[in-house]
């Protein structure tokens, strides 16, 4: 969205936890795939922030910045003298966001933060998958990506407030609490019924019908909740028994039968046939797409939500871009993760005004590095 983002890492290794993560241990074009996805358009600076001179550079940067994002164990920045209480004195307009596994205070706040652990401890995994198999986590680090998104939203909110009130603030966002927040009816249901929320595989029991099912040549998702859509589905399938369940509540109560009927019907149909029927009769469908399907999908390509760009270092690359369709300020990808410390000179000299000899000194002392 255009913010000038300076990503600070340790000299030498860089952010090893992200840079060294790649499926199969393969690094195409020397890129760690784990580091490609969440790094866009950033300047990469390597500073040892535990060194007194490194700390001073952080303070200088903060004094002219709008936002600080950190995800260290709660209290780490504070113990280094660059926590919210210190930095807010240097810049009272600073928006400081701490992203952690369990928050900055409370009985669980010392627990380690891993996305897979957050998916597990919140019960999200327990409600995903089939009852007859086992709980499943999202393969993707949804706790990280989703709380990062909510965090970005909160930062924008805090900036809006800062523009009015002239003061920044401290934001404490925990990924497990974000996952708890998005678990729709789980908590209310357990409280009201005393029952556990069961795993129901690919059938949704709150929006019937809404399912992923096997077609002749792949998997497809079908949704037809609104009465008009459900009637459309009845016509498209030609299943007479289905039309007994036009009423919403009847459908929710007879979900199993409805799902059996639709699943049986879909098995004999090709995906394309079902898609055409959906357009003709007015219900929602979408094939279960893999990364190859998405990569070649004319719709995503036309919307630039599959966004190709020419990275100045790594050449032709691609990035999902869910913010490609803002009328006046669409998101644009210019580059992905860059080598450790590549932007040291740009940030220190052009932004902070360090001289060449000062920068050389910092290299010698190991305060900054590549």
């Amino acid at each position: 969205m255009g913010a000038e983002v300076i990503h600070i890492e340790m000299p030498g290794s860089g952010d090893l936890l992200i840079r060294a993560v790649s499926p199969g241990g393969i690094f195409p074009r020397n890129l760690g795939l784990g580091a490609v996805a969440p790094n866009v358009n950033k300047y990469h600076v390597a500073i040892d922030i535990r060194h007194p001179k490194g700390k001073r550079i952080i303070q200088e940067l903060v004094s002219i910045s709008d936002v600080l994002v950190e995800n260290f164990k709660p209290g780490t920045f504070d113990s280094w003298g660059i926590g919210y209480r210190d930095l807010s004195k240097i810049n009272k307009k600073l928006v400081y966001i701490s992203l952690s596994g369990f928050g900055n205070w409370g009985e669980l706040s010392d627990r380690p933060s891993y996305d897979a652990y957050a998916q597990g401890i919140t019960g999200l995994a327990e409600i995903t998958g089939f009852k007859e198999a086992m709980p499943l986590k999202a393969q993707a680090w949804i706790g990280d990506f989703l709380s990062g998104t909510v965090g970005a939203f909160l930062v924008a909110v805090a900036l809006h407030y800062r523009n009015k009130a002239g003061e920044g603030q401290f934001i404490d966002l925990s990924q497990s609490e974000v996952l708890i927040r998005v678990m729709d009816w789980t908590w209310l249901y357990i409280h009201l019924t005393g029952k556990e929320r069961e795993r129901t595989g690919n059938r949704d029991y709150a929006t019937v019908p809404s399912l992923i099912t096997k077609a002749k040549d792949g998997f497809i998702a079908i949704g037809a909740f609104e009465k008009r859509e459900f009637i459309g589905l009845c016509k498209a399938t030609g299943i007479e028994e289905l039309s007994k369940y036009e009423d919403y509540t009847e459908r929710l109560k007879n979900a199993d039968r409805i799902y059996e009927l639709i699943e049986e019907w879909a098995r004999e149909k090709k995906i394309e046939e079902i898609e055409e029927l959906a357009v003709k009769y007015g219900f929602m469908v979408g094939r279960v797409m893999n990364s190859r399907d998405i990569y070649h999908d004319p719709h995503y390509l036309s919307r630039k939500s599959v966004f190709f760009y020419n990275d100045p270092i790594y050449g032709n690359l691609v990035q999902p871009n869910p913010l490609s369709s803002l009328e006046k300020t669409p998101a644009i990808v210019r580059w992905t993760v860059r080598p450790v410390g590549i932007d040291n000179e740009h940030v220190l000299s052009r932004i902070l005004g360090y001289t060449q000899s000062e920068i050389e000194e910092l290299y010698k002392e190991g305060v900054i590095g590549k």
């Binding site: 790649s22 241990g25 784990g34 996805a37 709660p74 919210y84 928050g103 205070w105 380690p112 891993y114 652990y117 401890i121 995994a125 327990e126 409600i127 998958g129 089939f130 007859e132 709980p135 499943l136 986590k137 999202a138 393969q139 989703l146 998104t149 939203f153 924008a156 809006h160 407030y161 404490d172 609490e177 927040r181 998005v182 009816w185 789980t186 009201l192 556990e196 929320r197 595989g201 709150a206 992923i212 949704g223 609104e226 929710l252 898609e275 357009v279 007015g282 219900f283 469908v285 979408g286 893999n290 990364s291 004319p298 719709h299 995503y300 913010l323 369709s325 803002l326 009328e327 300020t329």
Partner: protein
């Protein structure tokens, strides 16, 4: 003062009510229909003080009908009760001419509009962006739909005339492809070894979060330029952007990331294991940490057998390695396994944590203390436990002012005070089923 005490003092949810609200200068019209992405976006804004006016058709939004096994309180389903927070609820039939006129009067007073109708429906009603921006140049209009508002499908009449559905968004995002048990993991029944949706409405929540972010970016832009804009969000694309590196991996290597049960394609061990009474999460993926893990379960042979990260991230090894580890820990409960890990004090770092059922998660007072979960006694809805707010903020904390209201509960207040419609006219509009 130590950091935790200070952090708690800064963000204590019990003090939220005394503090200002960040978005109290924004008016949001949420006319979303049967769509929790729209509802979540407006919830996020309303938690931070935006005045959110939920516009439903006179019979109520069908999102109120979406509820597990038909369970309702006072005619409203559970998921809607969760997202009804802090919103004013009015009704309006925008299919009728008079309803459209009233809608435009509302738009003139609004900063933000959220809508989730089938692609092209707003234009058909004569309420498309071209019309609305003429009425209010500062308006930010956010459309949230599976296929979006523009692009190849819309231009080629390939978009079904239907509302967005979370499961379809999950399917089109690529997410469902990567979640689930692979074919070769044959200790699980065949019908469970398929692409699998997330149990919650993950695509709609992801779409709502991205939409709220896009809206706030547009507000910041409008603060500078004075201009509103049109935002076109697809929850499928939102979740696609959260599916790690699947797309980049295909581009760079030609390899499609497939489902791998509870494994992590880029690290092992970083996954779930079966115990006597459920699953545990165990991490120990760098070499010294893998050694620590094998030492704890007394299987030094596994260090030799899978010595490097490359051996351990070879997908062919995921199931065999897991069977080896599970053959030991399946004899212990989750608690006992975690205890084994906590007692280890040798070299390397490895952690173990229990995978909980939601009922077990509710046992932690942590979430209640921090306001992530709340207990409320609502006059109308009774005694409830539901999500509070995820974020803590020191100056303008998000908060819950009320839980949920009925369709049209705020009609009188709104139409009388905001649009100066008098009581008699309101009655007439009610009789004509416009309100």
């Amino acid at each position: 003062m130590d950091w935790k005490t200070l952090a708690r003092e800064l963000t204590d949810p019990s003090k939220s009510k005394e503090k200002p609200e960040a978005l109290d200068d924004l008016v949001v019209i949420d006319i979303s229909y049967g769509n929790f992405a729209g509802l979540f976006a407006s919830s996020l804004l309303s938690e931070l003080g935006a005045k959110v006016i939920r516009v439903e058709p006179p019979e109520g939004d069908i999102a109120r009908k979406m509820t597990p096994y038909g369970l309702e309180i006072d005619g409203t389903g559970l998921p809607y009760i969760v997202e009804g927070r802090n919103k004013y609820h009015i009704t309006l039939n925008i299919e009728k001419e008079e309803g459209k006129e009233i809608f435009i009067r509302l738009i003139r007073k609004a900063d933000i509009l959220i809508e989730t109708f089938p692609t092209g429906k707003m234009e058909k009603l004569g309420l498309g962006w071209d019309t609305l921006k003429r009425e209010n140049g500062r308006l930010i209009m956010c459309s949230i739909k599976t296929f979006g508002e523009r692009g190849y499908y819309a231009e080629n009449e390939k978009v079904p005339d239907a509302i967005g559905t979370d499961v379809v968004d999950q399917a089109r995002s690529g997410f469902a492809w990567t979640v689930g048990i692979p074919e070769e993991y044959d200790e699980f029944p065949e019908h469970t070894r398929v692409p699998t949706r997330m149990g919650n409405w993950m695509a709609h929540y992801a779409g709502g979060a991205i939409a709220a972010f896009a809206i706030m970016c547009s507000v910041l832009y409008r603060n500078i330029t004075g201009e509103g804009q049109k935002i076109d969000i697809s929850p499928a694309e939102a979740l696609m952007a959260m599916n790690n590196y699947a797309l980049q991996c295909y581009h760079l290597t030609g390899r499609v990331i497939n489902r791998v049960a509870n494994f992590e394609p880029a690290a092992y061990a970083y996954n779930y294991f079966r115990t006597k009474d459920g699953l545990v999460f165990i991490a120990g993926y760098a070499d010294p940490n893998w050694k620590a893990l094998c030492t704890i379960i007394n299987r030094p042979d596994l260090i030799e057998k899978y010595p490097t990260i490359k051996d351990r991230t070879n997908p062919d090894n995921f199931i065999p390695m897991t069977r080896e580890i599970e053959s030991v820990i399946i004899n212990y409960t989750r608690k006992e396994v975690v205890k084994m890990w906590l007692e280890y004090d040798g070299p390397g770092v490895t952690v173990a944590g229990e995978i909980l059922k939601p009922k077990e998660t509710l046992q932690f007072n942590h979430w209640f203390e921090r306001g992530a979960l709340i207990r409320v006694k609502d006059k109308e809805l009774g005694d409830l436990i539901l999500q509070g707010v995820a974020a803590k903020m020191s100056k303008t904390p998000p908060r819950i002012k009320w839980i949920c209201r009925k369709p049209g509960e705020d009609n009188e207040f709104f139409y009388l005070t905001l649009l100066n419609i008098d009581k008699e006219e309101l009655k007439k509009l009610e009789e004509e089923n416009i309100i």
